[in-house]
């Protein structure tokens, strides 16, 4: 299917954002303590849709909340009454602005597991209700490696509506899904075109978007062949190299909490006397309690085994089961890591060790 492309400038884009905020429930990166997190906004002055990737947390919490109420219960003399929580935490129709390309990709990755054996209806509903306006970056950050992974950054394989910054102040707005196409056409296109805020794409546009990609792709420090990593890692479950690379990890959980694709969770109850609320919140495979069983047995009792789980889940198990890597190359884990461990370095070091054996 052919999706439409428009050309505008910064003012036209900001006008578009303002119009979205006026007519839709909108989420965008809001700065707090030097970090950007996606929050509900009503005007452009509150947020920065062009926030730097290194300082922006992922959009995962808008689909898989850091803490979701699952149910509430009351214990009575005749048994336990279980009910839905009265707080509707599922989103209505909403738009997310300023999403990075890698972040948008993470939802495509997560869709696979949420549509697998157990269909997570909460996640589904949030996905259906949300339009994502994602931006392709102009320049790679120190720890970015999205172009080395199994999605097509060049052809803007991202969600809904994509914004690309071109040269000479030109900005391209492109629909990438049917939902995005419907969304754009619902935003008064004719009015924008007649006021000359937006223009229709001409025959040069595709070439200009390609030029932007080339300068962006040239700015990457990190490059790897993910197929090679997938293949090598799948053969070296028992390598002692995992023990070496995980030595300086302090098991702080940060990487999994900021990762846009990590989706392990734990269940906990908040109870007062006979009533309680059950929460579903994030878990991390770096945590010592991860997969700890009721009898006290833990199949991953030491750090390197938990690290192996992390690397293998991202680059082997998920790939085998769903055909995509569970890593989108955003570098958020590395930026947040207090001891600067890079997942890129870890998987490449382990794969290289397998060559020597």
């Amino acid at each position: 299917m052919n999706f439409s492309t428009f050309v505008t400038d910064k003012a036209g884009l900001h006008k578009f954002y303002e119009d979205i905020m006026a007519s839709h429930e909108t989420f965008a990166p809001v700065e707090k303590f030097g970090k950007f997190d996606f929050k509900k906004v009503t005007s452009l002055s509150e947020c920065d849709p062009e926030s730097p990737i290194a300082k922006t947390l992922s959009i995962k919490p808008l689909f898989f909340p850091r803490s979701a109420k699952v149910m509430k219960y009351v214990a009575t003399s005749s048994g336990t009454d279980v009910s839905e929580t009265d707080e509707d935490h599922l989103a209505g129709n909403r738009v997310i602005l300023g999403v990075k390309h890698c972040d948008a990709r993470s939802l495509q990755v997560l869709d696979k597991v949420y549509n697998w054996d157990y269909i997570d209806t909460d996640y589904q509903k949030r996905r259906e209700n949300t339009v994502i306006v994602s931006t392709r970056c102009d320049k790679a950050e120190t720890h970015c490696f999205c172009t080395s992974l199994d999605y097509d950054v060049e052809n803007l394989d991202a969600l809904d509506v994509v914004v690309v910054n071109g040269t000479e102040g030109k900005i391209y707005i492109k629909a990438r899904t049917e939902k995005g196409e419907t969304f754009i056409s619902g935003m008064n296109i004719d009015n924008r075109l007649s006021k000359n805020e937006w223009r229709k794409a001409d025959d040069k546009t595709a070439g200009e978007i390609k030029t932007q990609y080339e300068s962006f792709a040239g700015s990457f420090r990190l490059k790897m062949d993910y197929k090679e990593v997938n293949e090598k890692l799948s053969k070296i479950f028992d390598t002692p190299e995992f023990e070496n690379v995980s030595g300086n990890c302090i098991s702080c959980n940060t990487c999994a909490f900021v990762c846009p694709t990590c989706h392990c969770f734990k269940i906990s109850d908040e109870k007062v006397k006979d009533t309680g609320v059950r929460y579903k919140s994030y878990d991390s495979c770096n945590n010592g309690y991860f997969t700890l069983m009721a009898g006290g047995h833990n199949p991953r009792p030491v750090k390197y085994r938990r690290w192996r789980q992390r690397a293998m889940h991202k680059f082997v198990y998920y790939k085998e089961r769903f055909g995509v890597n569970l890593c989108v190359g955003c570098g958020k884990c590395t930026i947040s890591c207090p001891v600067n461990i890079s997942i890129f370095e870890v998987v490449n070091q382990v794969s290289a060790a397998s060559m020597q054996e």
């Binding site: 970090k35 302090i250 940060t254 906990s268 109870k271 929460y279 991390s284 750090k303």
Partner: protein, 290 residues
């Protein structure tokens, strides 16, 4: 401040003499001037070691790790790190005879932007207080409780104390709202070594693991109170926090209260000092007891 050569030489000597099994230091991350902590077991890797003003992370944290447990460890410590090490020793978490400590007379470390860190500009004990070998500075041997510089209440704490109560409450509400409950602050703290932390107890529903403002409040407050009189202001927690929360406010507030009320006590400065909450003195104030 660059002790790369000295540390490499000492580590090589320790390995050659068979005095240590593992050496904990810093190495370059390989592409910019940031550093990564490294645990060296192979004497050949000693050449990777570096020490500059970018050596920020408090390595005493690694004494909690499986990689160093029941092993003889060589370790580099700055002033604040050595104070936390002192507390680890006093609290019987590590054995002194298993450690070979390289102390640094620290001139302050810098953050990502190249600015001297706030805790370094306010530091009153820059020299390592426990060591086998001290690099830089002169061997003083006679440390006073407050170190070399007069103690000052943290600038941010002073600024916060000047705020009206409602504003201050709103500020902290924002802090707790932005906490994502990853517990990285706890894991990065060298002195949070409990095998099972109270905020992880399944029965402690106050903390409950869920990410709500109330659970973040209870977890962070409990954490900061458990570190009252023990926190050495190394700022590992702040470095680890993915939301960049100003966690030092909680600790520095406690520190200033304890300094004022417990005979100018600063955590971990004196070896064998059991800490503000462990000792009794007739001079302790009792005017708050009804």
């Amino acid at each position: 401040m660059n002790y790369t050569k000295q540390i490499q030489d000492i580590a090589a000597k320790l390995f050659a003499e068979g005095k240590i099994d593992v050496f904990v230091g810093y190495r370059m991350n390989g592409f910019d001037d940031n550093q990564v902590p490294v645990l060296i077991t192979d004497p050949q890797d000693v050449s990777k070691l570096v020490f500059t003003d970018k050596s920020v992370f408090n390595l005493v944290n690694y004494l909690k790790s499986d990689h160093t447990r029941r092993k003889r460890v060589g370790l580099v410590v700055k002033g604040c790190d050595s104070r936390s090490l002192n507390l680890m020793l006093t609290e019987s978490q590590v054995k002194r005879q298993n450690l070979y400590i390289i102390g640094i007379a620290c001139e302050g470390v810098v953050d990502d932007a190249g600015q001297k860190m706030q805790n370094c500009t306010e530091c009153v004990v820059p020299d390592a207080v426990v060591f086998d070998e001290l690099l830089g500075g002169t061997l003083s041997g006679s440390l006073t409780l407050t170190g070399s510089k007069p103690y000052q209440v943290n600038a941010d704490v002073t600024a916060l104390a000047a705020m009206p109560l409602t504003e201050r409450a709103a500020y902290f509400e924002e802090v707790f709202e932005n906490c994502i409950r990853c517990n990285a602050c706890r894991h990065s703290c060298p002195l949070c070594y409990c095998a099972k932390c109270c905020i992880d107890q399944e029965t402690a529903t106050l903390y409950n693991g869920a990410n709500t403002t109330s659970s973040a409040f209870h977890a962070l407050m409990t954490w900061s109170l458990h570190l009252a009189g023990r926190c050495v202001d190394c700022r590992n927690c702040e470095k680890a926090c993915p939301s960049h929360l100003p966690l030092h406010l909680l600790h520095k507030q406690n520190e200033s209260v304890i300094y004022e009320n417990f005979q100018e006590h600063l955590a971990g400065v004196i070896p064998e000092d059991r800490g503000a909450f462990y000792k009794y003195s007739l001079k302790d104030p009792d005017d708050f007891i009804m």
